[in-house]
């Protein structure tokens, strides 16, 4: 395929949306489960950090 300006823009935009989708619906849930698994398996630091993160109160203002 010959790459011109418009199909290049389409590819990069498409790829970016694909990454966003992958992050939100696949990778983040997977990472979350991985950390929880680590904490559950007795990794003290993982447990501490996870507790710290869970107790954090985010101010969106």
């Amino acid at each position: 395929m010959h790459l011109g300006m418009w199909n290049s823009i389409a590819i990069v935009l498409g790829f970016s949306f694909f990454v966003i989708f992958l992050d939100e619906y696949v990778v983040k849930p997977w990472r979350h489960k991985k950390w929880e698994r680590l904490a559950a398996s007795g990794d003290k630091e993982a447990e501490r950090l996870l507790n710290m993160a869970r107790s954090a109160k985010v101010s969106d203002e």
Binding site: I11, D23, V58, S59, E61
Partner: protein, 898 residues
């Protein structure tokens, strides 16, 4: 929400500014979006354009001569088409008719100078024919397409007897013919020329029996345009890889998006501005926009990393984190952007239009990062959802962070410090060794713009191999008066010049008016070789010229001599345009020109005390006589002369002369603009002034053609390369002086960059990459971008030492925090540029690689050498900040107190 919490007193203004940007986010966003949309609109109208004139130093005397005569004697924009048969000779009906049609096809290409086409099938290439009754006329070699084998054999006979054709337009083995066309400089449309040459000249005539090769500058740039589409492939690949890397680094897609916004906005502003000021994108400079965008992205990565850090520190308070990241990174970011912009702006001093355009556009583009990165940054963060605390916390357990911590620990041990210094010294010495071979100009015979095995360079080599030399160096013989070119002395000088320079191994062959007159004289005397000489008097010369040129219109003869016979040229066809060869050829030209002038004055020189120019002998000829206050060449000996043995020449014209080299330069310059030469002479302790009428009718002036223009460019490069290096480092030093208010800060930050520069130069020398007009901006761009890494590390060290007090701990913390982001940005910068190595355009590929090496070495320097030097020498500009924790203040408290 106002700043109702405590902020560092010394940065309260920056915190306030960050907060105000968030407060006024809607109007600021609207204004930035409108302006960005406008710039984007203009940006999309940009076109790729290369202007040959923009590549030349227009104020250089060679370029002035080139510009004055390129329209008549031919310029640097020649296309050479070689048709070569695989079997037999070109003197067959089929091949000669191909040459006829190819010549016709080339004559129809847009922008071609119809009077400057050389081909055996073109009307301007003629031979002398003796007709019945002894009359002679010059007629074209081919008047129409060939119909029979006898006609083809007759053309072979004509070619073999024509000195201006055989070996020049037809190869000595009869297997190849050359069609040469010159293009009008103001009508160079490289894309169109490329397409039309393919359609009219190459495609219809390449077959199993015939090969067609095309070379020459317009063809070269045509290929460059043809390959410019590589940029989209590189854009797609780089974008995708960078997105994945940033996503993985920040563990969040917002980390990939935010720097992209910065990069895209800056790109729109940059591209739009280029269009707005009436410029275009040069396909050879496409690496630069990538690099600038990568730089914008790098600053954004630093900011994003800091935002994460401040988000945790502030107790997961989004707005405070945004304001703190803005306030803390404002100085290094602004300083970095300023350094980048001014570093590039220095290029403005090089008197080459293309580089000046690059300096203006790139500086603006870089300054646009202040809008996209600094002004918009707090606003964009505010609009985006904050990162999940879990993500921020767990990210610190990643292998990347662990790797950085491990390396920092090893680096700051005593052994690590010693090894760092020793390794850098060793690497620098090795680079110094290689750097000695660095050349100015092209170090190879092929075009450095494209790869050696590219179709262009293959064609170029095939033509060079067959015809010896195709790259013209045009030396103009400029007469003082009309008919100067009919002077036998002037013609003999041209002939001597040809024989003198043809001894140089880089000269393939040469051509001048002297060749024509000798050939005509021989034909006039029934082809007896003994008559192949220049006649002794101007009447005979004029008669022979009349015979040869009488049947041709002035538009055709102008490529040999102007209609008034005032000016002609000697064209040397060089085998290559290697920088060292051009320098040597030009030196030889100058030696010949001044040497013959000294000889014509009838003097020989010797060196006196302190290299003074002293006249050794005065010849019996020319005979001088007084004409008023001046000396002119006469016919009767008066016993007196303007020069005497032992005279010391102290000035020629207004130029003082201290040695022979200066005398030769001054004499050539003076003779170039006047017929009356003023000499200041010391004779027997007395000072005399002598005005001498030049004993020659014409002077040689350098230089046109591709080799002449490259000689001018190379001479400017020699001057400006050193200047660029000095100004680049000086600018950076001054910016560091103001940023850290310290004379030493610049030294610590510039040391790794100086070593990077040496190493990149060493790499260039080792890989046959010469310093040319395209690599000249490398040092200033590399310096500006390379210093950013060090800025973030040093600024963070200062920030940390205020709290921690210990220099070593502060450096460690700086390397583990800012250093981590610097490492990541360096990786992204290197990737952004290194993908250019896949480009078909060798120049872009090498420029990308060199910039990647620059970035990589300066990153390694900022991450190893700078911190080690800081720990070893404990600079005062850092140590004075120890334990000076910034006072905290609250804006609301201040207002209440008032």
């Amino acid at each position: 929400m106002a700043l109702d919490y405590e902020v560092p007193r010394d940065k309260r203004l920056l915190y306030w500014l960050g907060d105000k940007l968030i407060e006024y986010r809607h109007p600021v966003s609207v204004v930035v979006i409108i302006v960005t949309a406008l710039f984007a609109y203009w940006g999309f109208q940009l076109q790729l354009v290369t202007s040959f004139g923009d590549l030349l130093p227009q104020d250089h005397p060679y370029i002035k001569i080139h510009n004055r005569y390129s329209g008549t004697f031919g310029g640097a924009n020649n296309i050479n088409v070689m048709i070569q048969v695989k079997e037999g000779s070109i003197f067959t009906v089929e091949t000669l008719n191909k040459i006829w049609k190819m010549t016709e096809g080339l004559d129809k290409v847009y922008g071609v100078n119809h009077n400057q086409i050389d081909s055996i099938a073109h009307r301007t290439v003629r031979y002398l024919k003796v007709a019945a009754g002894g009359t002679m006329r010059a007629q074209p070699v081919m008047l129409e397409p060939v119909k029979t084998a006898e006609e083809a054999a007759n053309i072979r006979r004509i070619v073999h007897n024509a000195e201006n054709i055989y070996g020049l337009l037809v190869s000595l083995d009869d297997k190849a013919a050359l069609i040469r066309a010159n293009f009008i400089e103001g009508r160079l449309d490289y894309k169109r020329i490329f397409t039309e040459v393919n359609e009219n000249v190459v495609a219809p005539f390449s077959d199993a029996t015939t090969e067609v090769f095309v070379a020459g500058e317009p063809r070269l740039y045509g290929w460059v345009y043809n390959y410019a589409g590589d940029v989209f492939f590189i854009l797609v690949i780089t974008w995708c890889i960078e997105w994945v890397l940033r996503w993985q680094y920040f563990h969040d897609w917002r980390g990939a998006l935010r720097p992209t916004i910065t990069g895209v906005i800056a790109a729109f502003w940059g591209l739009g501005f280029i269009h707005l000021i009436g410029l275009a994108l040069d396909p050879l400079m496409l690496v630069m926009p990538f690099l600038i965008t990568a730089r914008a992205v790098s600053h954004a990565i630093q900011m994003h990393d800091r935002y994460y850090e401040e988000f945790e520190k502030s107790g997961w308070h989004k707005r405070r984190a945004i304001v703190a990241a803005f306030g803390e990174l404002f100085v290094p970011t602004l300083s970095g952007i300023t350094a980048d912009a001014f570093g590039v702006l220095v290029i403005l001093l090089v008197p080459v239009v293309m580089l000046q355009k690059l300096a203006i556009t790139a500086s603006w583009w870089i300054l646009a990062i202040t809008i996209s990165e600094m002004l918009l940054n707090p606003i964009v963060y505010y609009y985006l959802k904050p990162p999940e605390p879990e993500l921020v916390v767990m990210r610190e357990r990643g292998s990347f962070r662990k790797g950085i911590n491990w390396f920092t620990g090893r680096l700051l041990t005593t052994r690590g410090r010693a090894m760092t210094v020793v390794l850098w010294l060793a690497a620098t010495l090795v680079a110094f060794y290689f750097m000695r071979g660095l050349t100015i100009g092209d170090p190879t015979a092929a075009s450095p713009l494209l790869w050696l095995d590219s179709p262009y360079n293959v064609s170029h080599k095939a033509i060079q191999d067959k015809f010896g030399g195709v790259e013209p160096l045009i030396v103009v013989a400029e007469g003082y008066d009309k008919d100067a070119m009919k002077d036998p002395g002037a013609l003999r000088n041209m002939e001597r010049f040809q024989r003198y320079l043809e001894r140089d191994p880089s000269i393939g062959y040469s051509f001048s008016l002297a060749d024509i007159i000798r050939a005509v004289n021989m034909v006039f005397h029934e082809l007896e070789p003994k008559w192949g000489v220049i006649p002794d008097n101007w009447v005979d010369v004029g008669g022979l010229f009349f015979i040869y040129f009488s049947g041709s219109p002035p538009t055709e003869t102008a490529k040999y001599v102007d209609p008034s016979y005032t000016t002609a040229h000697v064209t040397f066809f060089c085998k290559d345009h290697k920088g060292e060869n051009i320098r040597r050829i030009i030196k030889e030209c100058k030696e010949f020109i001044s040497g013959t002038q000294i000889e014509d004055l009838g003097i020989t020189l010797t060196t006196g005390q302190d290299d003074a120019v002293v006249i050794k002998t005065v010849a019996a000829e020319p005979i001088w006589e007084k004409a008023g206050p001046s000396w002119v060449v006469g016919s009767q000996a008066s016993g007196d002369a303007p020069f005497k043995p032992g005279d010391r020449i102290v000035a020629v014209g207004k130029a003082p002369v201290k040695n022979e080299a200066e005398f030769r330069t001054a004499l050539a310059a003076e003779a170039g603009h006047t017929t009356l030469l003023d000499f200041k002479i010391e004779r027997g302790g007395q000072s005399l002034e002598s005005t001498v009428g030049a004993p020659w009718k014409a002077v040689f002036k350098l230089a046109g053609g591709l080799v002449g223009t490259l000689a001018a460019a190379n001479e400017e490069l020699v001057k400006n390369d050193v200047l660029m290096n000095f100004l680049g480092f000086f600018t950076m030093y001054m910016i560091m002086l103001f940023t850290y208010r310290s004379f030493a800060a610049g030294l610590y930050l510039l040391a790794p960059l100086a070593l990077s520069n040496i190493m990149v130069n060493g790499y260039m020398a080792a890989n046959d990459i010469g310093v040319n007009i395209h690599t000249l901006p490398l040092v200033t761009v590399g310096l500006g971008f390379g210093i950013d890494y060090g800025l973030y590390i040093v600024s963070r060290t200062i920030e940390e030492i205020r709290v921690r007090g210990s220099l070593e701990d502060s450096v460690r913390e700086a390397l583990e925090t800012s250093g981590k982001a610097v490492t990541f940005t360096a990786v992204t910068m290197v990737i952004s540029t290194v993908f250019w190595t896949t480009s078909h355009i060798r120049f872009n590929a090498e420029m990308g690689l060199l910039l990647a090496i620059w970035m990589a070495i300066s990153y390694v320097g900022s991450q190893t050498l700078t911190p080690v030097l800081i720990v070893l020498f404990k600079p005062r500009f850092i140590m004075r900040e120890a334990n000076r924790s910034p006072d905290l203040t609250s804006m609301t408290a201040q207002r209440a107190a008032r």
